[in-house]
Structure formats: structure tokens, C-alpha cells
Symmetry: D3
Subunit: 136 residues, 6 copies
């Protein structure tokens, strides 16, 4: 159950700002499919525009990390945030970008390991070693 | 302020199970440096042994993801968990494994972006698109 | 799927402490509707009484912040905690107290923005500026 | 301890993209003070530009919620995310925008109350009442 | 919707490493029932083996805390992590180990109370009292 | 750095509602020591009174769980919430109530284990087994 209506294509067409973003999503992705996140966010055109613009800049534009690595980081954050939708959408995106079963197994193992040591460190109140200062 | 004492080398030498783990950490890392996490965890030899053994299996052994990518995932989880110590130790580890400034910038951008969309999705209660079902 | 049974009106009537709280909820809200949270919490009469009493004091009694602003804060915390039920119940409550579409859009934008900068700050380990000390 | 250097004014002046953002922050805020977050983020000019631009749009531009209410929401998210820096910077900002002691007391009470009921609901696995569906 | 297939008994029988873990789970628990977590994790035999081995060591082997107390701690962490599956599986496990309604009520009350004071402390930025230093 | 002043004994004596709570804390605990949390919360007398009253009811009054077990649950939640102050204060409280080194080791192991499996379950999107329905 969403807190807002998910805009249909017909409704998006009637809202120029939404329609422009939807058209750009389709062009950038080379697919007609608009997933529910954008259909919900479309209720807030300003946030829709800003979020899609940022996402294109961060996730789509060529950068120092390859697209699959960026999806793995996205999944890791989504798991720690407990966002089921985000986990599913970015796991599907990672699969589409070539994620293998073995890589997915590694991703899960690292997420689990980090989660465990994060809590052990926090419980113990471990002070940061001066050796970790990388600011020189 | 830690909730336990951080074991000195002298104390570790007096505890055979701890000493064995510390020796293995030094051998695997090719360095004499033992960071505070292990010195604190050394108060619990069973957890020390299990955690180091898992960490070697997950983070050190050759696997489908390269060592730097695994560090980036570790950092992402640590940021979302709010573990300052873990962020510092794994950012230093990533730097030692060749993380460039440009890659670090990307890592930050993806973590920030994911955190933002995670919360928007959660606030809106977006239902998972059936298209994301990858289980066939 | 709940971990406890949700008490029906008939069951509540058979439990005097529960019945007293349910009657007060109905009187305070001017509505016969008792939402599932209270029906589940009713399995623990002491916690039911304490929670309802606190909620009345914090959310219902006149105070320095107006009722709608308090609902927005409640939603923000619920989103960050990932409590779907709480998001839905308090978004509905905010709507009932006059939340407009434009205000809801702002709420989402601020939650998203804060979530992003929270993680960037945490990843970077930014030290607090002395200028932020407001304790004089 | 930060994971990056905090840029001094002299360093910012030597980096045109950073300098432009710092100048805009000073103009918008009518103050010479640049807090540490921006000095750290300045290591990543693209993220610095995007984040400041979004922050201006969300927090500074006139919108349906007044500036103080937006700060309260920002603080609430920051507390739930456990970002100490963010809590201090936005509590100071809220004070500067007129937050009274009584309002601050209310903010704390609502954050505490929401945190408690969030966890109770989650522990009990309470299903969402159909009455909370506001999508009509 | 899971991101992986949940292995059936027939599929597990065809995978020797999975079959060995499933057989051990059944032997240790004295029950034929294999819950979905293990059926999903079975897609990653190495993580399946390591996780079950750790779980046996931590939760099943005799130790200083009794089995029910360990389940209560497990539930508390799961609630704070927002893992609905974990809450249900460990609440059922606790019930099977003798958790009474009154003890469950106490567990809920402590989880709620801790969640509230955690956030109040974080919002206020309370410094740790030197009296809490237990490392002597 | 706190966001509020921590009230001294002299300031508390000048505020009757605060003084009454401080006197009750001292009487209940049989100690003159008032820790910083209460000194900070004292800026909000209504929240101070409500929080202390709830804490007495939940943590001090005789109930189905023994005092040490309740402290362990409190620590577990505080670790998952990342509240360093709460971890230190309740670890000290648990020590004062007889927590042994071996029990503390168990507590850490369970917290770590739960944190790891919480995230694995969340990443995998495991559906709840119908067998875990305890509501009959």
C-alpha cells in the first residue's frame, strides 16, 4: 500500500513536467518500462526532476567506478537501510548489468560480515587507531 | 572509551588462543600492526577466532569480487550502520588497496544517492514491481 | 502477520484495563475506530496504558508545536526507522489534520535531503564546528 | 577525525568550482562562515555542487513548509540516523530560526515517542489498517 | 518476493554441501522442518556453511547465557534492525523455548523504552560520564 | 558536545520538578550519582518526569524478566541504534548487576550473529514461513 497514487501513463501524459522526466527515463534506459518508484514520486514534480537528474549524474554518467560496482554499493546501502523495494530494484539492475551468482554470493557475504563487525565494534566502543588517519 | 580493555602485545602473548590469532593476522597481512578492534575482541577468544576466521574467508581469500570492491561494500554498510571506527579502518584499507580520489568521490555519491532514494521509497510505501522478480 | 492476536472489541470488553484505554482512545479521538496498533498492544495492558498515556501527553495535549508539525516529525522518525505501519498511520493522521499535497512534497524532500547529507557526513567523519555549540 | 582534509579558504580559492559554491553559500546565508561539512565535501566538487544546489532548493527556497518546520524534520531524521554532526548543525540552525526551548522540548518528546512506538509496532508485526489507505 | 529461489528438498538433495547442512540442521533441531532462511541461503553454499556453523556455536552450544535469554537478545536486535522475518522466526523460537506472555510483555517494554531513550540521548548529544568507564 | 546544558545540582535544586525527580532517582538507586542523561533531560521537566516514571516501571519494578536480562536487552537495542552513551551506561549497569565476562562474551556473540543474519535475510527478501505464526 503506497501513501500516494502511482501515476498511470495517461496521468503522466497530462502532466508536462512528469511526462518530460518519464520520456527521459525511457530514452536513457532504452526501455518503455517505468518502475513504480518514479510513478509514485511523480506526485511531486520538483522532487521527481531533482531525483532523476541526480540519479543520472551519479549512476548513469561514466565515472571512476563501473556501473555494476555502483549497483553493489547501492544494494549494500539499501540492505542496511532495510528498503525492500530498493533491494529488489537494484538487485534486478545488477543482474541486468551482468552480476553473476558467484559475485552475488560475495556481496551477501561482505554485507553480512560488515554488519556483524559493525555491531561488535559499536558494542565495544573501540577507539579509532591513529594509523587510520589518511588525511596526512 | 571502550567497554573492555584493549589487550597489549604482552597480554596477548600470555593468552595462547589470542596469540595464535594475532600471529595469523600478522602473517596474512604481512604487517606487525594489530588494530584496536582485534585488541578489544581479544577479551572474547571464541568470538575473536570465529570473527577472524570468517573475515579471512570473506575478505582475504580470492573470490568473485576483487578486494577493492569488497572494501567499498564494507564501507557502504559501515556508513549506513553509523560505525565510525569501521568507516575509518575500511577507508584506510581501501586506500591501501588502491582506491583513487575519483573512486572515493563516486562511492560517496552512490551512498548519498541510495540513502536518499531509500527513504523516499520507504516514505511513499512503493510496492515492488513484478518485473523485479528475478527468481524465474 | 502479527506476533500476537489483535484483540476484537468483544475481547477488549472482557478485559477491564484494555476496555478503559479503548474507551479513552474513542473519547479523545471522537471516533469509534481503534487501529490495529492498540489492538495488538492490548495483549500487554501495562504497556498499553503507559503508551497511550504518553501519547496523549505528547501528541494530543496542547503544546508549543502545533498538531500537524508533530505529525510531520513523527513521520520523519518513522521513515528513518523503516516502520511501514507507523508511516501509514501517521501520514493518514497528518492528512486528517490538514496536510496539503504541497506540504507533503516538502516533507518528502526534506527527509530525502537529510538522509543523503546524514550519510555523507558520516562517511566523511566531519568534526562538529565549535560554532554549533549552543550551550553557551 | 575526518577521512578527508577539510579545505581551508586558501585551498578553496585555488579550486574554481569549490570557490563558486563557497561564494554562493556565503551570499545565500549572508555570513562568512563555511561549516566543516562543506569544507570536507569540497574534496568532491561534483558532489559539492549537486548537494548545495539541492539543499538550496529544498531548505532555502520558499515552500509550503516554513523554514523552522523543515529544520525540525531535518533534526528528527538526523537523530534517527545517528548523525551527531547533523544534529548539532541543524539544532543550531533551528535555534537561529527562532526555535524556543518549549518547542525544542516538544521536538524531543515526539522523537522519543515515535522511536518507542516504531519499535513496538515492528516487534508486534502489526498489519496496516485498511482505513489508512489515503490513495482513494 | 525473494531475490533468490528457495531450494526445495529435492534441489537440496542434489547439492551435496547444501544437503550436509540441511541434514545437520535437522539433526541438531530434532525436526524435519527447514525454514525459508536456510532454503534461500542454500544458493550460496559457502555462506550457508559458515552461517550455520556460527549459529550452532553461538545459539545452540551451551554457554554462559541460557537459550531463552539469547533468543530475547536476538529478537531485540532484529526489531532494531527492522527484520520482520527474523522477528517472527526468533519470536517463535523463544515461544518454543518457554517464553511466557509476561516475559514477552517485558521484552516489548524494554525494547520500547531503550529505543526512546537511545534517541533522546542522541538528540541531546549527552557526553559519557567518566563513572561508566569499566575498564579500570 | 551536548545540545543543552547539563544541569548542576545547584541548578536542579532551583527547579522543583527537576529536584523531585533527582531526589527519586537517588532514593531508588541508593546512590548520590546522577548521570548526565538526566542532567541533560532536566531541561525538559515534563519529558524528564515521564521518562523517569516509565524507566522505573519498566526497568526497576519487579517483573517477569530479571534485572540483568533486561539490561542485556537494553544494551542490544542500544548497539543496534548506535547510541554510544546508552551502551556505556547500560554496560556499566549490567556489570553492577553481576554480568560476568563469559555472559558479556555471549551477549556480544549473539548481537553480532543477529546483525549478520538480519542483513542476509533482508538482502534475500526471505518470506516468513507460515510455521512461525504463533497467533493460532
Amino acid at each position: 500500500m503506497a501513501t500516494v497514487r502511482l501515476l498511470t501513463d495517461a496521468e503522466a501524459e497530462a502532466a508536462p513536467r512528469v511526462q518530460a522526466v518519464f520520456a527521459d527515463i525511457r530514452a536513457v534506459r532504452g526501455s518503455d518500462f517505468i518502475n513504480n518508484f518514479w510513478r509514485g514520486l511523480a506526485n511531486e514534480p520538483a522532487t521527481l526532476e531533482r531525483t532523476w537528474s541526480s540519479l543520472k549524474e551519479v549512476m548513469v554518467a561514466p565515472s571512476a567506478l563501473d556501473p555494476l560496482t555502483k549497483e553493489l554499493i547501492y544494494i549494500a546501502v539499501s540492505v542496511a537501510s532495510g528498503c525492500s523495494y530498493c533491494i529488489h530494484s537494484h538487485t534486478a539492475a545488477a543482474r541486468a548489468k551482468g552480476l553473476t551468482d558467484a559475485q552475488y554470493g560475495d556481496l551477501l557475504a561482505v554485507i553480512g560480515m560488515a554488519s556483524e563487525t559493525n555491531r561488535l565494534v559499536t558494542a565495544l566502543g573501540i577507539p579509532v587507531d591513529p594509523e587510520f588517519d589518511v588525511t596526512g
